[in-house]
Symmetry: C2
Subunit: 472 residues, 2 copies
């Protein structure tokens, strides 16, 4: 059962005015150094309070021997001290009226020594009595991009693009993998939360909180193993389809299961049972970190397709064929255009190459308005539910891309558009980035991945429909 | 049947001293402009001869009205003129003693009009009589990185990393997709060849040629449909396991098949038949452009695993679990370390987290020599056939990566090592690139992809073993 005071305080934990770093340091070999960097190198405009009995200042900020010495209120305490010192710090947090803790320190339930689990139980009791939600222990921390709060040991997370995806993860490694991917692809993030050993904040607490978080449009979960999977299922079931939830779970293999036990103190459990239960509670289930990000991003950026008929508009035939194959294999149809649409295309393209679906727009490389006309006609076609736009561009066909990119922003509100617009790295990276930034365009690096992402949107729409059917 | 003179001349086609551009232009709306850029912006140190009756010079090089006017020999002619002018050019090439043609122009067998096919037949007769191999028509061209020859309309291909992968493709779009991927991942390329409509140079000609090409270590094929698939199968069968060949074929779906007919004038054909026949002739068969590059790169860089036992050494537990799942699903085993290896690991890592396989090296983030020690011990373990090294690194654990990277280069000769070393983009990109450059390290962007790539090496090794068994 969730502690109601703990839940109430989650909002303050993620939106603090004053943040103390317990174990702040200027030694780059200490996590307290990196946490200070994270808090101070971004644009967070709350107060940062380094706490370290041995320092007068840390990174030019006045340091305090203890939180008690700081004259103002502390909303959030980030703790990086060795495990055995943490109970004392929790008592201090309670006295100070701290509303949330990010406990980065390791050495609790995840270690071989049973003392770790005992210590974690002690902390849980302390935190629950005080009504303090705790992210961790054994976590890299958390990030709330909306207020530029980087409460993690990774300063680079201050550069994450802002947007609607909240990632809640049982693994710091996967969080970093996905964070770096999001940076590379300009996928907008609202929050990244490393749950670690989940003292009193677990998926079952995070999902309802994020459903009410105005900055979050989609919730992405990375799971290994849970003590009480039922609590998560109930949480997702209660809020299902309020906002999309996507999940990726590892520990499918025997080895993974064993690793999960050591890593987070929980057995990964039978994979099929999790998958089935999650799907039943309205969660889109994926099988890799890359697809977790692709699915979350598409759900954040695109309307859902009203049917499975896809139009493939491509600057080259090969990528269109690759995408066709994936669409059909994943249960979507290659749409047949209405006569009026086909007429427009036939007028705009010479009688060379592909003019039916998929459309090879190659012959119109030097005619940006023809490309715009084709995309516009297909967007208006009532027989088309979703659109893939594929183009590998370089010097020779660069002009073809520049024309339609602005129009995509308008069109993409009507029907889902997933793009694979790719340019040589280091040359027109910036041009591709411009299309992606501010969550303007759902763009992925390969045609196959674009098709698979569209199929995930269609899968989610179908899950939603079936669920409505069941409920009626 | 391949024309023997055509085959003999392929070597000169790819290694010309003097290259003429028929239709060279200074107008950026013309392909003749981009081809000139490609030839002159790289480091090609042969002679470039612009041919254009209306120009005295093109891009500061003296232009000629016809090839005949150029006083020296021409080895390679790149043709970008409209289709109907091409037969005359071919006759001129024959008179001039040209040894190879790259025919970029479109408007032949791929168009709706039957005149296109007739024209292509005329050209084939002319080329075969003259013994001139022709890349194309309807191609972006080709690139030979070894001599910095960029005979394509994509100047950016002059920046492709040099290495052992030859890509032969039926699609310009897929060639560009893979070329840009190779640039992004520092995957070394020997040649990229866009076959287009395959006048008289088809896969069956390219495979034997590349088997004898000293710069090529692995051949990657992208196929759509072939008129005479048997010719390719025979070519790959005759040279099987001389060098690895990997193939990706689209046109699995009905739509893809129809598209292939329009695009290249050939039916894609029954997918299963191709897959089966290719596998029987020793070709590793993959299902996406990304895997085509990953497989080719791994085969070019890594020794083959002698068994299916994988060690997973990771900086974080989550990515290790993700990789474990994929390894087991793809038929590899998570190795059990020998006692001596386990002892070394237990000495080097604290009794926290994962010390058996997979190994979570997280606790040794600040101890580069411990990480080196672990990797070294695992490399020497006779029960380990292949190694995955996974690390998401940023400020806090940057030191962990710097230590072992040099040593990887030594170790990777003994056993296949596939890495997923990932840093925040724009911050330590350069550090990751340094590890990848010069084909130093097989590095991919996700742990799942690393595991799948290793599984492809194991699949290839198994195919080889079965084949040897059959032959014995």
């Amino acid at each position: 059962m969730s502690n109601p005071v703990v839940l109430q305080n989650l909002k303050t934990l993620f939106n603090p005015h004053a943040v103390a770093v317990i174990g702040a340091s200027e030694n780059p070999d200490k996590l307290g150094f990196h946490v200070m960097k994270s808090l101070t190198s971004g644009r967070f405009n709350g107060t940062v309070v380094p706490v370290n009995p041995g320092a007068k200042s840390v990174m030019s900020l006045p340091a305090f021997s203890s939180m008690g010495d700081f004259p103002g209120e502390i909303d959030l305490a980030i703790v990086v001290l060795p495990a055995k010192q943490v109970p004392g710090i929790f008592q201090e947090c309670s006295r100070k009226g701290v509303k949330g803790i990010v406990l980065i320190s390791a050495g609790f339930r995840e270690i071989d020594d049973s003392q770790g689990a005992l210590l974690q139980n002690t902390l849980a009791d302390l935190a629950n009595q005080a009504g303090i939600p705790v992210i961790g222990p054994n976590t890299f921390g958390m990030v709330n991009r909306q207020i530029d709060l980087n409460a993690s040991f990774t300063p680079e997370f201050s550069r994450l693009p802002k947007g609607g995806i909240a990632l809640v993860s049982q693994s710091g490694g996967i969080s970093h993998l996905m964070g770096f991917m999001a940076m590379r692809q300009n996928a907008g993030i609202s929050k990244i939360v490393g749950l670690g050993n989940r003292l009193n904040v677990d998926f079952a607490e995070m999902v309802p909180y994020l459903m009410g978080d105005p900055d979050t449009r989609v919730v992405a979960l990375y799971l290994e193993g849970l003590d009480e999977p039922r609590r998560l299922m109930e949480a997702t079931k209660q809020t299902r389809f309020v906002k999309p939830v996507v999940a990726y779970k590892t520990g499918r293999s025997r080895t993974g299961d064993r690793a999960s036990l050591s890593h987070t103190g929980s057995l990964a459990g039978r994979h099929e049972i999790y998958a089935g239960a999650l799907k039943q509670s309205g969660v889109l289930y994926v099988d890799s970190a890359e697809r977790l990000l692709d699915a979350a991003r598409a759900l954040a950026l695109c309307p859902l397709p009203k049917g499975g008929n896809v139009a493939i508009l491509s600057g080259q035939a090969g990528p269109a064929m690759a995408a066709s194959d994936v669409c059909e294999a994943e249960g979507m149809e290659i749409a047949t255009f209405r006569a009026a649409t086909q007429r427009v295309i036939n007028e705009l393209l010479p009688p060379l190459a592909l003019r039916t679906n998929p459309v090879d727009m190659g012959p119109a490389w030097y005619n940006a308005s023809a490309i715009e006309g084709i995309i516009g006609a297909v967007m208006e076609d009532s027989g088309v539910d979703a659109i893939l736009i594929l183009m590998m561009f370089a010097s020779a066909n660069r002009a073809a891309v520049s024309g339609f990119s602005e129009l995509l922003l308008k069109w993409k509100q009507q029907k889902p558009v997933v793009a694979c617009l790719i340019a040589p790295p280091g040359i027109w990276d910036e041009e591709v980035s411009r299309l992606e930034r501010g969550d303007a365009l759902m763009n992925v690096p390969t045609p196959e991945r674009a098709a698979r992402t569209l199929a995930l949107l269609w899968e989610y729409e179908n899950m939603k429909r079936r669920s409505v059917g069941v409920l009626e």
